[in-house]
């Protein structure tokens, strides 16, 4: 599912990826036991945006569970860090940076950046910089979370269904007419 990212989240992620010298990055919001990509940066952005991944797996999964940032790099010839988002977008990262996004209510998501340019490893300066940006992202995610979770009102839903019905009548027209009838009947 591709969704338009919130501009503030996209800007924060882009800043994190660019300032740390990463190639790809993902900002994930935590919903129950699932992490959903709400902003993506780099070559994998189109594939990653809107994707959900279990919070039990991968670097992002670990940082939301532990509350600890990590910067990791496989040794040459050693096992790769391919679980979680890396598996979904088909990357075999040479370096990974994972930062929890926290608000006053705890961890609300994760920021993950992979593949430091030039094949290097992410430095402690990268960790600190990304942690600061992840802190802002945490507040933004917490603020935006209710918008993502809220149930649209019936009129808004009917309007959306009408628009969908115009593009795919067989799939949505019946649902839209039922809903319109329900609204009309109060």
């Amino acid at each position: 599912m591709n969704v338009a990212p919130e501009p503030i989240l996209q800007a924060l992620l882009d800043a994190a990826v660019n300032s740390t010298g990463g190639t790809d990055g993902w900002l994930l919001v935590l919903r129950d036991d699932v992490l959903e990509v709400v902003a993506a940066s780099g070559p994998s952005a189109a594939t990653a945006l809107g994707v959900s991944v279990s919070a039990d797996t991968g670097t992002a999964g670990f940082v939301v569970r532990s509350g600890q940032p990590v910067a990791l790099a496989p040794r040459p010839g050693g096992p790769a860090l391919t679980s979680g988002m890396a598996a979904i977008v088909g990357r075999v990262p040479t370096s990974v940076l994972g930062i929890p996004c926290e608000s006053d209510e705890g961890v609300v998501g994760a920021l993950e950046v992979v593949d430091k340019a030039g094949g290097g490893t992410f430095t402690f300066d990268d960790v600190e910089l990304a942690t600061l940006l992840a802190g802002v992202a945490g507040v933004a995610l917490q603020t935006l979370k209710p918008l993502h979770n809220r149930v649209p009102d019936a009129g808004e839903l009917a309007g959306e269904l009408r628009r969908l019905a115009q593009s795919d009548p067989t799939r949505y027209a019946t649902v839209a007419s039922v809903l319109t009838a329900l609204i009309a009947s109060g």
């Binding site: 569970r65 600890q68 040794r75 096992p79 209510e105 402690f124």
Partner: protein, 304 residues
């Protein structure tokens, strides 16, 4: 469970006599841990579960004593004793660092980070409380929670650990955001320094972070018998844990505040300060000398 001892303030007896004490001048690294291996010390690693058969851990993990804490669908805490795996690799990394410094210390894995996020703070707290109840000499926490509603329970458990004589080492947060229990005086909170010498740590005079230890681009053990390179305060904390295990194995009966004092005195920046720990300042030396001379003159003697 340790036998309850009445607090000292309830006694009307005289001060407890201490058989032997070290002076601050004695507190060198050689005195503190020279020749020590960690033998006789039990270290708890509260984390993602240590991979006990990792080749770089040399069989130092007490598999049968391990404990995993989870929260079931009904919100009940579930304790599962015995062997478990490492869900990520983080706990194995911490255990590997401790084992590198204190090769004969016995490590117990307390797994609180596993599948699912439900109740993770509750599992974390219960794991820490269990380790305190088991009277581990050193407890490593390379994790924390930012949830303020859990701050007080963690405070209580860390205080219990302090009074029961467990030395709790935690990773500090990277930024100025609350992370519990790293903010408490009853624990030793650790961040990274720039060193790659595992025994080179620093004292930070601006708490809550009290010590700095190697944690940047560290070669660490990881799950599935592997190794990789990692950066973070998570890897700094087990360096202090390892040194604390060495000190405890050489000097039995130390209390946590004594252990902190030894760590302070043996920290690189304290050892390398112009005036080493325990020495009087020049002004104090002069003052002491003048007073001694005056006292001697008063009884008709002179200094030789």
């Amino acid at each position: 469970m340790a036998e309850a001892v009445p607090p000292a303030y309830s006694r009307d007896s005289t001060v407890v006599r201490i058989g032997e004490v070290a002076s601050l001048d004695d507190l060198s690294p050689e005195w503190a841990w020279g020749g020590a291996t960690g033998r006789g010390v039990r270290v708890a690693i509260i984390d993602s579960g240590v991979e006990a058969d990792h080749p770089d851990l040399g069989g130092c993990v007490d598999v049968s004593r391990g404990m995993a804490f989870t929260v079931d669908a009904d919100g009940n805490l579930v304790e599962t004793p015995g062997e478990h795996d490492d869900s990520f690799g983080h706990a194995t990394a911490c255990a590997g660092i401790v084992h590198q410094l204190a090769p004969e210390a016995r490590i117990t894995s307390v797994k609180v980070l596993g599948a699912g996020l439900t109740g993770k703070a509750a599992a974390f707290l219960r794991g820490l409380a269990w380790a305190v109840e088991q009277d581990f000499e050193v407890i490593n926490l390379s994790l924390g929670t930012s949830r303020r509603d859990w701050a007080l329970p963690f405070y209580e458990v860390c205080d219990q650990g302090y009074f029961r004589n467990s030395f709790i080492v935690t990773a500090a947060n990277n930024v100025a955001r609350p992370s519990y229990p790293s903010l408490y005086a009853s624990v030793a909170s650790v961040a990274c320094n720039m060193s790659h010498d595992p025994f080179r740590f620093h004292y930070n005079p601006q708490p809550p972070t009290e010590f700095l230890a190697p944690g940047i681009d560290i070669d660490i053990a990881w799950r599935d018998g592997s190794r990789l390179r990692g950066t973070g305060n998570s890897y700094a904390a087990p360096h202090i844990t390892g040194v604390a295990a060495l000190i405890r194995s050489k000097h039995l009966g130390l209390r946590p505040f004594q252990l902190k004092t030894i760590l302070w005195a043996t920290a690189a920046n304290v050892r390398e300060a112009p005036r080493p720990a325990g020495r009087l300042s020049r002004n104090m030396q002069q003052l002491t000398s003048i007073r001694a001379s005056s006292a001697l003159a008063a009884v008709g003697l002179t200094r030789s």
